[in-house]
């Protein structure tokens, strides 16, 4: 009973229970009621259509980033630079919008160009980490981390420099774009069916690339044994670069949607930490694309559900982050324990 899928599922539930248990202890230790906190988070995320729409707004970039990371993880790369790739996607999209600000072209075309521009920007930024890795021998973790800092600095520079608001520059970002540059949204809700569609399409494509294509199989071969893959005739470093490009493009799309459908301008923290959160989701689902949607949705719900906590319970909204992090840790620990247990059994 403990073997196979069911067993694995039972262990995941144990991990979930342990994570909630530890967070509950933390809450009790600061004198808050865990039950109230969880209830408020639940109501705050799925208590109304409007709130659930907010969850989806958070779900879209998270799913896009996770989809991209599934490719880099498959090829054996730790693409920590994904955060910066989101930022460069957002910057590129902003640049395209600014370029066409007075244009008479149909807005739909401009929005499409802007999103494609964002994907291109993210991909190019990712290729920097890839080139550093393949030709410079710089581990992608260090390269990516460095590039993340550069991307943040670049955003601040643009907002306070060349792209500053007329009059006085401000942390609230660049001048908002006209409504015509926004991805069409559902009436009265902030979610755009277009962005949701793009994200779902992305994860489906990534699933099929990894499951059913020669490209995906080669990516996995490179990730599992670089040297043997080379001897089998796979152009290994090219495939590493391709996976950087794909992940960068998807992260760039996430950044583009943050600009085109959520903030309608460039703001300093445009990536909102979705890159790091995506890394956690990818680890939590053990790099299986099939689980990306439910887990990303759950994480997004935690994010949105915790927003009301400061007002309702005087708790910081970072509680969702604590819960997410604890959950990842416990899933990894429980999985390790399960494997050890199975070996003995």
């Amino acid at each position: 009973m403990l073997k196979g899928r069911l067993g694995s599922f039972i262990f995941q539930l144990i991990a979930l229970a342990l994570a909630f248990g530890v967070v509950s202890l933390i809450l009790i230790s600061v004198g808050a009621s865990p039950l109230d906190a969880y209830k408020n988070m639940f109501v705050g995320s799925v208590g109304s259509v409007r709130k659930f729409a907010e969850v989806l707004v958070s779900f879209v970039p998270l799913l896009l980033v996770t989809a991209g990371l599934l490719i880099t993880f498959s090829s054996g790369l730790w693409n920590i630079g994904v955060e910066g790739q989101i930022v460069l996607g957002a910057i590129s999209t902003t640049w395209v919008f600014r370029y066409f600000i007075d244009s008479t072209l149909p807005p739909a075309l401009i929005i499409s160009l802007a999103i494609l521009g964002g994907m291109l920007g993210g991909a190019l930024w990712a290729s920097l980490a890839g080139i550093l890795k393949t030709f410079g021998g710089v581990n992608e973790i260090f390269g990516g981390l460095g590039l993340n800092f550069v991307s943040t600095a670049l955003t601040i520079y643009l907002i306070f420099g060349p792209w500053k608001r007329p009059g006085v520059a401000s942390m609230s970002g660049t001048v908002p774009f006209p409504d015509s540059f926004s991805l069409p949204q559902l009436p009265d809700l902030r979610i755009s069916m277009w962005s949701l569609g793009i994200a779902l399409l992305a994860i489906v494509i990534i699933y099929f690339i990894l499951q059913g294509t020669y490209f995906g199989l080669k990516i996995k071969a490179v990730g599992k044994n670089f040297r043997a893959a080379y001897l089998l005739g796979i152009p290994t470093w090219q495939y590493s670069l391709y996976s950087f490009l794909i992940c960068g493009a998807l992260a760039g799309a996430a950044g583009a949607i943050q600009v085109a459908a959520v903030y309608h301008r460039l703001i300093p923290s445009i990536s909102s930490g979705y890159g790091y959160l995506g890394l956690m989701v990818a680890m939590l689902i053990n790099y299986q694309a099939i689980w990306a949607v439910p887990v990303a949705l759950f994480f997004a719900a935690l994010n949105i559900g915790s927003i009301q906590l400061p007002i309702l319970m005087k708790l910081d909204s970072s509680l969702s982050g604590v819960l997410q992090g604890t959950l990842v840790l416990f899933v990894l620990i429980v999985e390790g324990a399960r494997q050890k247990f199975m070996k003995k059994a």
């Binding site: 020669y214 199989l217 996995k220 071969a221 599992k224 044994n225 080379y230 089998l232 005739g233």
Partner: protein
Amino acid sequence: MNVELKDINKHFGKVHANKGINLNIPSGTIQGILGENGAGKSTLMKVLSGFIQADSDSEIILDGKTVTIDSPADAIRFGIGMLHQDPLDFPPMRVLDNFLLGLPGGLFPNRKKIAQDINLLAKEFDFSLDPESYVDSLTVGERQQLEIIRLLWLGARVLILDEPTTGISALQKEKLFATLKKLPEQAMTVIFVSHKLEDVESLCDKVAVLRAGELVGELKPPYNTQKFVEMMFGKMITLGERQPSQTGETILSLDNISLEDARLKIKNVNVEIKAGEVIGLAGMEGSGQGLFMRACSGLMRTVGGRIQLKGQDVTGKHYHAFKKAGVNFLPAARLEEGLIPGLSLTDHFILAEQPKGIFIDRAAGQSLAEDRIKSFNIRGTPLSTVESLSGGNQQRAELALLQSPLSLILLEHPTRGLDIESVIYIWAKLKERCKQGAAIIFISSDLDEVLQYSDRILVFFNGNVSTPIDTHKTSVTELGQLMGGKGWTEKAGKNA
């Protein structure tokens, strides 16, 4: 130390790897454990050395006391040390640090004292080990020596050696045996695991033969080789007559090539290899065969000279260009370089076909895999991951991955660690390739294998390469001397 194994059983899932084994090894004995691959030798030794735990009713009795060994650290505390087939050391560290790592406790180790200990032990066994040298600069044989004295230094009273004579030279083997023979005088027990008859015969006081997880019986000197083979396989096997090959067009031509790495320089080698020919590379580990092999496959660039494949200049090209021209290289480290752990046999066969198109044709892959598994006699299913296969089956899988047609096959230790049946099978497959017009170059530290299967032999010694020697005009003695650096003046004339 007196070792008694009582009713050792071990199941891996459905596989019954050890079936009620009873074995008594008195103190001061060199005990041989003989058996073909998968006979259960390694499992038994891993049980004794704490790497795995036997089923619950099994008993290990040391000097009359029943013990439970839960880990290798436990084992060494009880005085049992195991030398693995692939040395488990830390290559980028110094010899001295490798000693420190196994040391229990102690925040500030006394490096000076330990260095002295190493020198003392090394001197006792006539090893030349510098405590300050880096492990990755040592040969496999020297790494064995390092492991042996490290285990003794940690207090091992029982020394288990798993296939220790694979991958080392004849000279290093002699030294190893001399060392092992000294140990019983100090009331130590040696357990020597091998599938090589002559090694077991020349070294062991008694030999236990395993077959399919069971202890078939024990033999004492004088040994009868035929009896051993019968016990191991249940039937008689011989390697068969050596057959000369039909040669054809020139496949590979090396024109004055020079090679270099951090340790070795090879200068001005001239060789022409023809279709259908088998060239064996003999020499002590690290004498330059590896460099030569990698240069012939494009994995390493030459520093001078010209390489031609079927008349086409490929000097300075990469392995993938060589591969397109029909060169395949099979590395010795199967799971590290040859195969991809985590992927199934089907996945491997699909990848090796260099598929065009986008979507994987699963049905075609499946039938391809079934086909190859059958024709290469691999014990596994299309969905088996490569790491779940035994060594011999991994080797067959690697062979099954060779593309078709091929003009040149390069093999590093193609039969290392395999039983006779697998060896014969693999060479039959390779000879088939030769008949289809491929040339083969292979490295082996087993001189019998080199003499049995090559048409011509290149001997390597410290970066020197002999002129090609016709196999039927040479002998183990001559090759052995050349490998040891003797008799080079006439053989090496042109190349040295």
